[in-house]
Structures are given as structure tokens and as C-alpha cells.
Symmetry: C2
Subunit: 230 residues, 2 copies
């Protein structure tokens, strides 16, 4: 338990995909005074090498030494999503659509949170931070407030530490424009983040995730400094 | 969706570790008329090769063609349990103890259920069966009724199919003696199962899991046909 938080510095497991939202969430957790344990989950998504690079760069930027990279193959094995199944194309984004898009990975956030809770229990951490965004989540059911609050009840009933691990979702009800503004205000290294679902070198600029990011920067009146496909 | 259940034959994902409880649970699901998708999760436990063999043998016995074996390394990476951390010895069983034993793997059942739900969503399955036993679970918090019922709420809120996947725990309130009797009544191939936490060849007969199994056979007035360490 040498890694455990103390009453003065509580410890948080922060899910850090390497995307903009998770980077801003990390900056927020640091500002709130949490000690950080950064968790990155590769789940066989197309851009996992690029996302891992972003994770490493962000951890280095903040000098975070307590990191865990987990490789899970089962979401790709199970399939059912354009993010992990190369037989399904990533479609152009359509933020107006009400249906759940093919980039939805079935029950992904539950799988990722379960890993975070296991690590949090062993570390003696007090909190888990995840950068989910309800409004901009393209209708993914496991990005909604009710899902996270119910998952907290699962932690309370199913973990040895009982109800002492809370799930923080500081971006849940924010727009992408708010998140850009918040990130810049916190000094988050947005230039190191990666959001594109499709490409590993230049961001495609056309997938769901790129479109939401670009729209967020535009609405915030800021310029995104990562490189997009010409 | 060619693997989906029909109104006449609903489909169940059955968690089949290869132990006695999961084998009896499978036999019960088959008797209830479910089509079966058998899921085995290797999580870096000491006896994973032997358990995988038991899984394969049981699936062959029942002629189950729809199987998925998932290897996850993160519970072993995270550590904190004698089952996955070779630095922690598996202690002799002490069924009278009220504390959570060192064989507890933090939040294991949540990790495993999350995988099952992801697969169930893609298959269009109606149910998940898991052979957890509350009374004989050595105090593991994620083997209790309240945990499973809360997890069902997480499925209802976090999956694309909404509340249509139920978790069945037919052994939850049974004793090991009941389970032995039930398994024999259902014709379950208990001779193919593996329960020992410690060994891969002869069952040790002294770990928590062996002691519970042997106590169950004795209380049911039956003889266990697997081979124990002389």
C-alpha cells in the first residue's frame, strides 16, 4: 500500500486514452489535488499505437510515474464495432443522427471501468476519473450519467473496499467547446492528444471523433494545433 | 445476427471456468432450453491451463460449438491476489474465517461479466449464466446477490440492447452439497471439472476451493471421481 493516497493527497486512477477529453480530465484531477495513477487500455482499436504514444507523451509532460498499460484483445475478438473490426468501415461523422453508430464498442466503458476498479482496489485509490461526454457521445449508452452512477453502486456492492471508490466524470455535461476552453485554461497539453478513430499519422478530419473535436475548437474560437490530413 | 437466439430457443452466454459450479450451471441452462454460447476467461491464474482443458472437455461433452476463450492479463498485472500473484502463497482453506481471503481477485467478477455482456450484445443473447455461490464464496464481495442485481442495472443502463440481458445465478443460494446433488441429477460431467486453485495435475485437496468441493461431496454422500494428491 506504499502507493496509497494519504488524507492530504488522495489518489485517483485516471483513464487516459490519449484523446483530448481524457487529457483535460487528467489536468482537472491534478488541479483538484489528486495524486495520479494513469491507466491506458488498448482494446484493439485501429489507432491504438498512436493513442499509446499520446498517453506516453502526456504522462511525460506531467511527470506521472505511476502508469499502467493494459492490452485487452477480447473487444476486438468479440467484434461488432467499426473501431475494432476491420471488416466494418469507419463512416463519416453524422452528429445529427440519433441512432447508435457502428463505432460503438459494445459495453466498452464497463470493461474499462472494471479494470480501473481492480487497480484502484490494489492501490488503495479513492477515485476514478473518466473523460466521458454525454452530449457529444454519439448516443453511446455507456457514456450517460445514469450508467456511471449505477456503476458506482456496483463498486459499492462488489469491491472489498466497499463504497470508498467514486467515479468522477467532470466533462459529462460539457460541450466540446467548453472542454477546449477548460483544457486551455488548465494548461492541458492538447497538442499531444490524439482523437482520430481512423488514422495514425494525420488526423482524418472526417470521422465522428475528428468532427466533434474540430467543431469544439471552432465553437471555442480556438485553433487546433494537431495536424490534419491535407 | 445468425447466432442470435430465437423466440423458441433463447440464447445464453454461460461463463464456464471449468470448475464444478460452472459445469452444473451449464447443465442447468441446457435443461432450461437455452442455446449455449460458452465463455472461458483466462486471467493469469495459476491453474489456467488445467481449467482451459476442463472447459474444452466439457464443451466437447455437450457438443457446444459456439465458444469463446479470452485471455486477459491485466488482473495478473494488477496483482493483489494469491491466485494471480506468484509472490503470494495460496494458504490452506479456512471456511470459518469471516475476512476476505488473499485468493480474492479484486473485482474479478465485474471484469468477467463485462466481457460476457459485450459478447452477449454482439450475439443478441438473452441471458448470462454464472455459477457464483454466495454462501461458499469465502466472503468475496462480488459473489453476493446484491452485486449481481446491481450489475443487471448497469447492463440495462449501459448496453445498446437495454434491459434485455438478464444475469442468472442458479447456484447463488445453494450449498456445495446441493450443487453436487443437482449436478448429478442433471447428468453434468463432474469428472471433467477442475476446482483446485493450486495444482494442475493432482488436485491439492487443501486449498479453499478443494476443501469446499470435498466438503460438498461428503455432505451429499457422494464420491468425487477426480484425482487428489496422495
Amino acid at each position: 500500500m506504499s502507493d496509497a493516497g494519504t488524507p492530504n493527497t488522495p489518489l485517483a486512477v485516471v483513464l487516459l486514452s490519449g484523446g483530448m477529453d481524457s487529457c483535460v480530465t487528467l489536468a482537472h484531477a491534478i488541479e483538484r489535488g489528486f495524486g495520479i495513477a494513469a491507466l491506458h487500455v488498448n482494446y484493439g482499436q485501429r489507432t491504438q499505437q498512436r493513442e499509446l504514444q499520446a498517453f506516453t507523451d502526456i504522462c511525460e509532460y506531467y511527470g506521472i510515474g505511476r502508469t499502467l498499460v493494459v492490452n485487452i484483445s477480447h473487444l476486438a475478438q468479440i467484434g461488432g464495432s467499426a473501431l475494432t473490426d476491420t471488416g466494418i468501415d469507419v463512416p463519416p461523422g453524422d452528429p445529427e443522427s440519433a441512432r447508435i453508430p457502428v463505432t460503438y464498442v459494445p459495453f466498452r466503458n464497463a470493461n474499462i471501468l472494471a479494470i480501473a476498479v481492480s487497480w484502484a482496489e490494489v492501490l488503495g485509490a479513492d477515485a476514478i476519473f473518466i473523460g466521458a461526454v454525454e452530449e457529444d457521445s454519439s448516443g453511446y449508452p455507456d457514456c450517460r450519467e445514469v450508467f456511471f452512477r449505477t456503476f458506482e453502486q456496483v463498486i459499492a456492492t462488489g469491491s472489498a473496499t466497499g463504497s470508498s471508490i467514486s467515479i468522477h466524470t467532470p466533462l459529462l455535461h460539457r460541450t466540446k467547446a467548453d472542454i477546449v476552453t477548460m483544457g486551455i485554461g488548465l494548461g492541458a497539453p492538447l497538442h499531444l492528444t490524439w482523437s482520430c478513430y481512423q488514422n495514425n499519422t494525420y488526423a482524418c478530419g472526417t470521422c465522428d471523433s475528428c468532427m466533434l473535436r474540430l467543431k469544439g475548437f471552432a465553437a471555442a474560437g480556438m485553433t487546433d494545433s494537431i495536424t490534419y490530413q491535407p
